[in-house]
């Protein structure tokens, strides 16, 4: 089901606004991640979609239908909570059957559907255990099965992987992707882990301080960050950021003067600093001093000093010595200028959203 927010704001206590004028549409059948630092309002957004929380102002649509006034009972979405929230006194099978019981599905049918779901999420051998006797990964899968039981047209997941160890996380995110594709259910996945978001989703919504920063594909977020926050938030290792005043004329010939005049911050991805000229993509050269050089396996990283500021690059071909002078070729893809509000005004594709 398509979900649309029209100018939605929320305040818990009536004085401090947590979410500011959110506008977005989540297309039917896609998997969308909501990504942002802790406390930015991800869970709150999800609670509003589910109907557990009513927006202070604005409207929410499911398809064409205005559901702003409907509560969670009426909206019929499936939801997996951060700590799973399984019913501790019921067995795995009873947990999965619970929403069906509420929907007054007959007992034999209920059981059959629950068993199918247990199979889908690979917990069919655990159905008679209580949640307390399951591992984190199993609990999470039971929670997903329970959320899918009433065949919701919308599945909401609130940081479902945050309690799992690194390996299980990777396994489970593939699992969620598989289940989503098998069932075709529109899924909204909350996370503060960019890696998770980049791997699992069709589209990513980046949220910060209750403001939507950008809503686009993973690739667009990386190649065309709409502002400094997104540029810094997405990418590993983190983008190099400098002040425009750190440059002493290196950019004058290469960036139009009217843009340069408004630029405040500079972002350079570590892979956009090369020690060799690649030709047409080079927009400028800068002179640096090598501070540190590390080499492990095929990877070569260098920490460089540029007019007293630190730069990191991952694109070194030759071995370097400490304190050696080095000319770097700045690549156009991966070089951005931002104005005083943090908006991108140069670099990437200016038309990309």
């Amino acid at each position: 089901m398509e979900v649309t927010f029209k100018d939605v704001s929320l305040s818990y206590d009536g004085s401090r606004e947590i979410l500011h004028h959110l506008n977005f549409t989540i297309p039917e059948g896609t998997l969308v991640s909501i990504l942002g630092p802790s406390g930015c309002g991800k869970s709150t957004t999800l609670m509003m979609i589910s109907g557990l929380l009513a927006p202070t102002s604005g409207k929410i649509f499911f398809g064409d239908k205005d559901v702003t006034k409907q509560d969670a009972l009426a909206r019929k979405v499936g939801m997996v909570f951060q700590n799973y929230a399984l019913y501790p006194h019921l067995t795995v099978l009873e947990n999965i059957m619970f929403p069906l019981k509420m929907a007054k599905v007959k007992k034999p049918e209920r059981k059959k559907r629950a068993l199918e779901l247990a199979k889908l999420v690979h917990v069919e051998d655990q159905i008679n255990k209580k949640p307390g006797a399951l591992s984190g990964g199993q609990q999470q899968r039971v929670a997903i099965a329970r959320a899918l039981a009433k065949e919701p047209s919308l599945l909401l997941l609130d940081e479902p992987l945050s309690n799992l160890d690194a390996r299980l996380r990777i396994e489970m995110r593939e699992e969620i992707r598989r289940i989503q594709q098998e069932t075709g259910v529109t899924t909204i996945f909350v996370t503060h882990d960019q890696d998770e978001a980049l791997h699992i989703s069709d589209h990513i919504m980046v949220l910060n301080n209750g403001d939507m920063q950008q809503f686009s594909s993973a690739e667009t977020l990386y190649d065309n960050p709409s502002n400094l926050f997104v540029a810094k938030f997405i990418g590993e290792p983190v983008i190099n950021t400098l002040e425009i005043s750190d440059f002493q004329g290196e950019l004058d010939q290469h960036v139009p003067a009217d843009i340069l005049k408004n630029a405040v911050s500079v972002g350079i991805r570590p892979e956009a600093l090369q020690d060799h000229d690649s030709g047409s993509d080079t927009i400028a050269t800068i002179e640096t001093t090598v501070k540190e050089f590390e080499k492990y396996g095929r990877e070569k990283n260098a920490q460089l000093d540029f007019h007293g500021k630190k730069l990191l690059t991952t694109e070194i071909e030759n071995n370097l010595e400490k304190d050696q002078k080095l000319t770097l070729y700045l690549q156009k893809s991966g070089f951005y200028l931002f104005d005083q509000d943090g908006k991108r005004i140069f670099g990437g594709d200016q038309d990309a959203k």
Binding site: M47, S50, L52, D71, A72, L73, K76, V77, G78, M79, F81, Q82, N83, A85, L86, Y87, P88, H89, F98, P99, M102, A103, R146, A147, K150
Partner: protein, 273 residues
């Protein structure tokens, strides 16, 4: 070595405490098997020369104890079930719902916990007599259908249940009512058992109130019925103790079976009964 001494000391203190607690019960048991002269003998004796089991039979004949027993069972059951029902609803409201004046009402109720039960006897009696309920079963039951101690204990427990469980139930299509009875109550089992047992014991042992609000023999509960052994000519201690043993026996059995829940339930809320 130090640890061992501390350990031994701890057990000695616990055992001493246990003996002191048991003393009255042992005395009751011993007295119930004595002859009349033995009960008032000085210095007191612990073990009668000959065990007088006949005291038990005579005690039963002294008053219609079967009727008293049924009264006690009836009053205790209705009081406990009723009180539990009202308390669960109130505890849910205080822990989960938002309504105008919630905190003020809660504080006022909390204040009532400081009023000693004895102080409530007269106002309660006056109220009941105005309602023409004195000397009825209702008099024995109605004033105890709400207990803020139970509400408070349950509320503390309900509040420790994560919000997300409530939200999950909502998402799954459960109403507040269904969530309360099919999720919250089952997972609060140990606390509910604890307050139930405390209430059953309190209700079963209650003496003052039934004594005051009833005077017909057919409404008498067991503790009141024990008066049968105290007459103008003095008290028949042996038979009184035999009957007392019989009165407290069900509670002792109940406690032994459920002590695990009682201790868990009470220690969880940090409250004492």
């Amino acid at each position: 070595m130090k640890v061992k001494i501390a350990m031994v000391l701890r057990y000695v203190i616990l055992i001493l405490g246990g003996i002191i607690m048991l003393m009255p019960f042992l005395w009751m048991l011993s007295t119930s098997l004595k002859t009349q002269p033995e009960t008032v003998k000085i210095p007191p004796i612990w073990i009668p020369k000959q065990l007088q089991f006949s005291n038990y039979i005579d005690a039963f004949k002294a008053a219609p104890f079967a009727q008293y027993f049924l009264n006690s069972v009836f009053v205790t059951t209705v009081t406990t079930v009723g009180q539990l029902f009202t308390s669960i609803l109130a505890a849910f409201a205080f822990s989960r719902l938002n309504f105008y004046g919630k905190n003020i009402i809660f504080v006022i109720f909390l204040g009532t916990m400081m009023v000693p039960v004895e102080m409530l006897i007269i106002p309660n009696f006056v109220t009941l007599s105005k309602l023409h309920l004195v000397n009825t079963y209702a008099a024995l039951i109605v004033p105890w259908l709400a207990s803020f101690f139970t509400v408070f204990t349950l509320r503390q427990n309900f509040q420790s249940v994560p919000d997300q469980l409530y939200y999950a139930a909502k998402i799954d299509g459960a109403s507040d009512w269904h969530y309360l009875w099919h999720v919250l109550v089952p997972i609060s089992k140990s606390t509910i058992t604890a307050v139930t047992v405390l209430q059953v014991i309190g209700s079963w042992n209650s003496f003052m109130w039934p004594l005051i609000v009833t005077n017909s023999e057919n409404l008498r509960t067991l503790p009141v019925g024990l008066q049968a052994f105290t007459g103008d000519a003095g008290t028949n201690y042996a038979q009184l103790m035999a009957a007392s043993t019989f009165v407290i026996l069900p509670m002792v059995i109940l406690y032994l079976f459920l002590q695990k829940y009682i201790i868990a339930g009470i220690s969880k809320t940090g409250l004492k009964g």
